[in-house]
């Protein structure tokens, strides 16, 4: 494989990995605080729709982004109310949110644009354009570093850089701030947090809202960064993959980067090499399409070992029964 091909695959990895990364970090904040979230898919979908729709109507991707994030935050608030305030089952609430987003996006989209749930295609300022980093052009001719910088590092949309920056930021927030300490504690033992005089409710709501913010970015990236508009069900299971990546990463931010990029890489490779000819025997395309998932299982079984979720995860905090 030559450098150019490698760079193209890695470039594709970054693009495909970014929505997973944002969603994975979103899940990380929520689950680290003890609120399981299988509704990542739905929130992402909702955000993709509203960012696409508002960007199409206003012509401003920033307004679209804002709308997408707000819609995702709204779903987060529902999840928070159900699982924190009303101590409902977090999985049920997540499932409901996935259904809700799947239905509402098309319903509203159809009412709004009469395009069967699609939004009009975005053009110009309605989309996030690629950002060319400083010196990318001038360094382009430098061997190895030039192409790597130009092809791989430069030329993504702003949300990619935001997502990448979110990794160290999340790490810093979790491990270097008071907020992070409390957040991690509330996912492990909310009673410890409560008896230390900190509000469990407030912490958990904050975490769930951060989750909403990040899934909002993920959805907006899908609709306004990677594509030019919303298509129904366009998240295509990425929320579930992000969840898998989160477990893979054992609920830690830096490994989350690794896990999501691994998924991105596997998909990029499967995209690139769909018809592999093994000396006369052509591997069926379905095999190559299943390969990322097969490899995930192999890696998981071979190298990752047991992942223990935050101990208080999945359960509402109940003092008195």
């Amino acid at each position: 494989m030559d450098l150019a091909t490698l760079l193209q695959i890695l470039d594709s990895t970054v693009r495909l990995g970014t929505p997973l990364l944002l969603a994975c970090l979103a899940g990380l904040f929520s689950e680290r605080a003890g609120i399981f979230d299988i509704g990542l898919e739905g929130k992402m979908l909702m955000a993709a729709f509203f960012s696409g729709a508002v960007a199409a109507v206003t012509g401003s991707v920033w307004l679209g982004l804002t709308a997408g994030v707000l819609s995702s935050l709204l779903l987060s608030a529902i999840h928070g109310a159900a699982s924190i305030t009303f101590r409902g089952n977090q999985l049920i609430s997540g499932v409901a949110i996935n259904f809700l987003a799947s239905g509402l996006t098309v319903l509203i989209g159809q009412k709004w644009f009469q395009l069967g749930g699609r939004t009009p295609s975005l053009t110009g300022n309605g989309r996030f354009g690629p950002i060319t980093l400083p010196f990318a052009e001038s360094l382009r001719e430098v061997p190895v570093i030039g192409p790597v910088y130009y092809e791989l590092i430069s030329g993504h949309t702003i949300l990619v850089y935001v997502a990448l920056a979110a990794v160290p930021l999340s790490w810093w927030l979790l491990y270097r701030t008071r907020f992070g300490l409390r957040l991690r504690a509330v996912g492990e033992n909310p009673a410890a947090v409560d008896t230390a005089g900190i509000s469990v409710l407030r912490l958990r709501y904050t975490a769930v809202m951060i989750c909403g913010l990040l899934t909002g970015l993920a959805g907006a990236y899908l609709a306004t960064g990677l594509s030019a508009g919303f298509v129904k069900e366009m998240t295509a299971g990425r929320g579930y993959i992000a969840l898998a990546a989160l477990i893979f990463a054992k609920w830690r931010p830096v490994p989350a980067l690794g896990a999501t990029m691994l998924f991105g890489l596997l998909e990029a490779i499967a995209n690139r090499y769909q018809n592999i000819d093994l000396g006369g025997v052509v591997l069926p395309v379905q095999f190559m399409q299943a390969l990322p998932y097969i490899l995930t299982v192999v890696i998981l079984a071979g190298f990752i070992g047991k992942a223990t979720p935050p101990r208080a995860g999945g359960a509402a905090y109940v003092k008195e029964r």
Binding site: Y175, R176, T177, R178, F179, G180, L181, R182, R184, A185, E188, N189, A191, A192, V193, D194, T195, A196, G197, I198, S199, R311, K319, E320, R321
Partner: protein, 517 residues
């Protein structure tokens, strides 16, 4: 805290804490009924009562963890509102809960800092806490490695962390709920030294315990609770253990179980050079040899974490080790191939695990389901090849509950709804009633009230008298001394020595437990 306002013993006449008419119900359970109590500053105030009497609830109300249904709280003579723990902390109250409120995978330092940080950034807070911890360690002999992860600490050390948490928040009033339940005598003594030190500095201490000896030893006044009510408050110097026991239980309690001389028969269990290495590659058992005969109780004393758990685990039939164990002359497989917990039961070993809530019981299961636990293969509980005989189990449970005086005697009640003492009785009933050749029993009376202790001890002695072998593991030297026919002391995976109860004392055992041969 050193600079904290000194509350001289006679400086103020107002009680440090006064509770007036506190009531609290959990659904249908009236945990506290119209309770009033005054605790004077600069004193150690004991609270005793049976399991479920409402002690923890009362203290949790004071600490703002639960909200009282009625009543008021006065601190230093002024009425205060304590809607949450934050308010309690601000009012200078610190509490060490019966079930520790620690984040298991945090370090000591992180646990201490949690909720008492100095700013949004963690590092300065941690640095400051580290310095304070050093100071506190010096002032109160409360050494703990600040960077140790809590789940790797012994319970004794976890307890210290809880106390440090309270002290770090500069508490003037310190509540300790059953702090010595999991401590060794040495650790308990140490704790009491600290408490006296705190009192002498003018702080107020409330101590909940089931151990009358401790009440007598350290408290200035003592309150007795029964069924949600405060039945008496007396000056410790004016009372006796017997009187307190009677106040608590409402009848006379035997503080020491009468027990005739042992009648040892043939060797039931023989262990030779047992070794065991855990998953992390640490050698936990370093060549244990011991024998137990029919009709005798071998007590194993030792500080928790010196291999007792591992010994019980292997004997209980779900561990892997090296060496030679024979039961009634038959060798037991140690390769782990039959380490399924069933083989050993089938060969006549019954096992009361140390940790009843996590191993011995399924808290969400009903009492009758828990009675089947581990014996779900027993023929008498099967209807046919496929189905279990739930009706037979229910009947057997009702019978056992009656014989073991489990309260309430309702087989369909979930285990979590019984008090700790009654939970322990369920486990004991299940295991003892198998009529085993060998009973392994770990910490049989941890956290259990004295009425129940009396009963449990009687059952163990009765089993011995029926000609069975008993291996008793306990950190309570009292219990070891009063129940055992022989005593072995474990330290660091070895047996340090064997003594006869009549020929030894707590001091000598304590030295052995510390590894001083």
């Amino acid at each position: 805290m050193a600079q904290a306002q000194p509350l001289g013993r006679q400086a103020t006449a107002a009680p440090a804490i006064e509770l007036r008419g506190i009531s609290k119900a959990f659904g249908p359970v009236q945990a506290n009924k119209d309770i009033s109590i005054r605790v004077m500053p600069g004193t150690i105030h004991g609270i005793i009562g049976e399991n479920g009497a409402g002690k923890s609830t009362l203290m949790s109300i004071l600490y703002g963890f639960y909200k009282a249904d009625a009543g008021e709280i006065l601190i230093g003579g002024t009425p205060v509102q304590i809607p949450d723990s934050q308010a309690a902390i601000r009012a200078g109250i610190g509490m060490v809960f019966q079930h520790f409120k620690l984040v298991q995978n945090f370090t000591v330092l992180e646990n201490v800092v949690l909720g008492a940080e100095d700013g949004a950034l963690l590092r300065p807070s941690l640095a400051k806490a580290r310095a304070s911890l050093q100071q506190l360690a010096r002032d109160y002999e409360l050494e703990v490695d600040p960077d140790a992860v809590v789940e790797e600490l012994s319970v004794g050390h976890q307890q210290r962390v809880e106390i440090l948490k309270a002290l770090y928040r500069q508490a003037d009033i310190l509540i300790l709920d059953e702090p010595t339940g999991v401590l060794t005598p040495a650790e308990a003594d140490h704790l009491f030294r600290i408490l006296r030190g705190l009192r002498d500095q003018g702080k107020t201490v409330i101590l909940i315990t089931h151990k009358l000896r401790e009440i007598m030893e350290i408290t200035d006044t003592v309150s007795v609770m029964r069924r949600g009510e405060m039945t008496a408050t007396v000056t410790t110097a004016d009372t006796s253990p017997e009187q307190l026991a009677e106040l608590m239980v409402g009848r006379k309690v035997l503080l020491h179980v009468p027990k005739g001389p042992a009648n040892p028969g043939k060797v039931v269990l023989s262990v030779e050079d047992l070794r065991m290495v855990d998953e992390d590659g640490v050698e936990r058992l370093k060549g244990i040899s011991l024998q137990i005969r029919a009709g005798e109780i071998l007590g194993i004393a030792g500080v928790a974490g010196n291999g007792q758990s591992e010994l019980l685990k292997i004997l209980g039939g779900f561990g892997r080790g090296a060496g030679r164990i024979t039961l009634n002359g038959t060798e037991i497989d140690l390769t782990g191939r039959s380490a399924d917990g069933q083989t050993s039961r089938a060969s006549g070993i019954a096992h009361v695990p140390e940790d009843r809530q996590h191993l011995g019981l399924i808290m969400d299961f009903t009492a009758w389901e828990n009675v089947a636990f581990g014996y779900h293969h027993a023929p008498e509980y099967q209807k046919n090849a496929l189905l279990m005989d739930n009706a037979a189990l229910m009947a057997a449970t009702a019978e056992k509950m009656e014989r073991f005086d489990v309260r309430p005697p309702i087989p369909t009640l979930a285990a979590k709804n019984f008090s700790g003492g009654n939970q322990q009785k369920i486990v004991l009933a299940r295991e003892i009633e198998r009529n085993p050749d060998l009973l392994l029993v770990g910490q049989p009376t941890r956290g259990v009230d004295i009425g129940a202790i009396e009963f449990i001890h009687k059952q163990i002695v009765a089993l011995r008298d029926a000609g069975k072998a008993v291996l008793l593991v306990s950190v309570e030297l009292d219990e070891i001394l009063s129940l055992s026919d022989r005593i072995a002391v474990m330290f660091d995976g070895r047996i340090m020595g064997e003594r006869l109860p009549a020929e030894t004392n707590e001091r000598e055992l304590g030295l052995l437990m510390a590894g001083v041969a």
